[in-house]
Symmetry: C2
Subunit: 374 residues, 2 copies
Amino acid sequence: MVTVTAGRVPFPAGHPPTPATVHSVWADNQEHDPRGERTPRPEGTRRRATIHDVAQLAGVSRQTVSRAVNDKGEIDPATKERVLEVARLLEYRPSRFARGLVRKGAVTAGLVIPDLMNPFFPEVAAGVLEAAEERGWQVVVWDSRTDENRELQALDKFSHQADAVVGYFKNPDDVLARHLGGVPTVVLERGPHQTRFGAVGIDAAAGVEQGVAHLVRAGHRRIGMLDGDRSDAPGPRREAFLAAVRQHGLAVDRSWVVPSPEHSVAGGEAAMAQLFDARPELTAVFGFNDLIAVGAMRAAARRGLRVPDDLAVLGFDGLSLGELVEPALSTLHIDKRRLGRLAVEQVARLSAGQEPLTGADAWVIPELVVRASA
Amino acid sequence: MVTVTAGRVPFPAGHPPTPATVHSVWADNQEHDPRGERTPRPEGTRRRATIHDVAQLAGVSRQTVSRAVNDKGEIDPATKERVLEVARLLEYRPSRFARGLVRKGAVTAGLVIPDLMNPFFPEVAAGVLEAAEERGWQVVVWDSRTDENRELQALDKFSHQADAVVGYFKNPDDVLARHLGGVPTVVLERGPHQTRFGAVGIDAAAGVEQGVAHLVRAGHRRIGMLDGDRSDAPGPRREAFLAAVRQHGLAVDRSWVVPSPEHSVAGGEAAMAQLFDARPELTAVFGFNDLIAVGAMRAAARRGLRVPDDLAVLGFDGLSLGELVEPALSTLHIDKRRLGRLAVEQVARLSAGQEPLTGADAWVIPELVVRASA
DNA sequence: AACGTTCACGTGAACGTTCACGACCCCCGC
DNA sequence: GCGGGGGTCGTGAACGTTCACGTGAACGTT
């Protein structure tokens, strides 16, 4: 702990200030008051104090100031205290740029999240944060709101400000590549052969197969699906669903799957209403994710149908929210935190030039959790 | 679009490479290397190419390279293309440190969140992100997991790497101040007179009063409270609760409030069980937040009590999750996104030397949302 | 033919910090 | 009296960019 003589800049004998000191600094800085409170300053735009200012006012060299603020050895305790006091007076804070320039190793990663309101993503973000922290990285977060243009804005930033990027993207590879000039990148939820970047994700097919098998096992043969909002590409979950129902010999085709306008409860509710109209005979429905599945449950309730007796509902994600609804949601649980961790591990390998994770190491397999809804 | 001759470095006539070019680059990277890397190439850890390397290999000056990569004018298209090609070849990416050193204005803010799994915080984070983005700031996120030590770790990082800090903290002011050497800081959820930093938050008292009044209006006179985990300080919500019940003349004292071990459904469930034992006669309960309130509902269901007939439950936060449970949760809704926005506005004022927001501008007032549970 | 203009490009100098040295002082031992 | 050594402190020189200039050459214009 350092005790300080407040309000006074100490100049012990033997270290007289050079004639230039005080004056030149104040000349730069205007009046005397460091914080200046309300008055004459050009509205809070004072030049930030540098290590040089501190050195000059304290009557020492830059190096000594550096020694003081980084508390290294080779400095007299009295000097250190004095320097620190001056630093406080001037509100000196070392420039992270200058510092980063000379000592390398500070890594910052960019994380692009489609929707912070969807509980799925904060959890993978938590995984990313964990793993990044263990590596000493810092991560800056960007909410793209599932907007292609905002994704590109993010990349335009990150290509300048980040050493690595992970995230969810709707844009195709080539567009992405054009906006992130060479930064190592890992895209989530895109098959390893569907991307030129690093990739991790969930094994959608494995999950969907388990889900459909479970429903069939329970006697369902007329199963619908509420897909995500992928208006363009069909998406692996839908593909896997269609493959699975075909494999089980069900009389279900693509007219049994309707896309949800958005990845939310409201979206799922709307899509379910639509599906009810199209296929009133269905007895079970598979949701693209838990939010949509919950929406399906609400739509069923609105029609006076009972879950799971009149309609079995199966989700995908394993949000803890699923345990709270009535009845509790059966779902394919994903280890979202692990997913996030994998993403940073993958991008770390990429930027280190190591060979990427593949197969089961990069693709987490959903686990069927049977609760009340199916 | 730029078409490139892959695998070959083009040297158009009139721009012959100086004899030094290719060779000197490798010479720089190995022999002459001042850093003296002992191993010839420690597996993908080659020194990152600088603007100088690109300039040399392309046979132009640094400035021209700069012009090319930042696509400014004053450059011949052919030269630009050639430089870009070399840059790609060398995997050149400008150093954000060197760049930040010379052009100021890149602000990064640190955000400390206690628990990403609690849906409350992602939403205020979304607000922070929004407002930061509008200012051109980038924000790096840290999950403190409600751990005092981790809070300090965050500050130790941010004091070096960030220009501003906002977040939730359990640590007292003086401890915080010691770890964030002079960085402008805004703490959330701490009264303006309880902190020396900037502060924004919610007007807990106003919220609690509305809630208690609502319960009393519905005829309840034996009201309990499930507090947060503040083992040390009582916390403003509890204080406000006790004041409100006293004002309404209820025979309720501090034995009617039990702290939840954690801010979660499970915590609320446990706390509610405890409260049932202590005060079996209660007819209504006020939750510290929605998660805890939902826990109370589950505890009630487990005892065969019906909500709201046997036990009215009131939450605090207004999570969208509250609409999903059965019965839907009555709560005091908080504009969490606005809260986040206010935080960055406040810290922006702080770092600009402007006077901070106060009163109704800095303290968002909860709004009573009556649903089924109370 | 002399002169201005534009275009394409290069040259120090800054930005703020740390690192590798070297200088100085004081005290000790012989 | 001299060498040596530990403790303090200062001095260029990096680090990788951008900025404000300066320099030619090519091309008109009068």
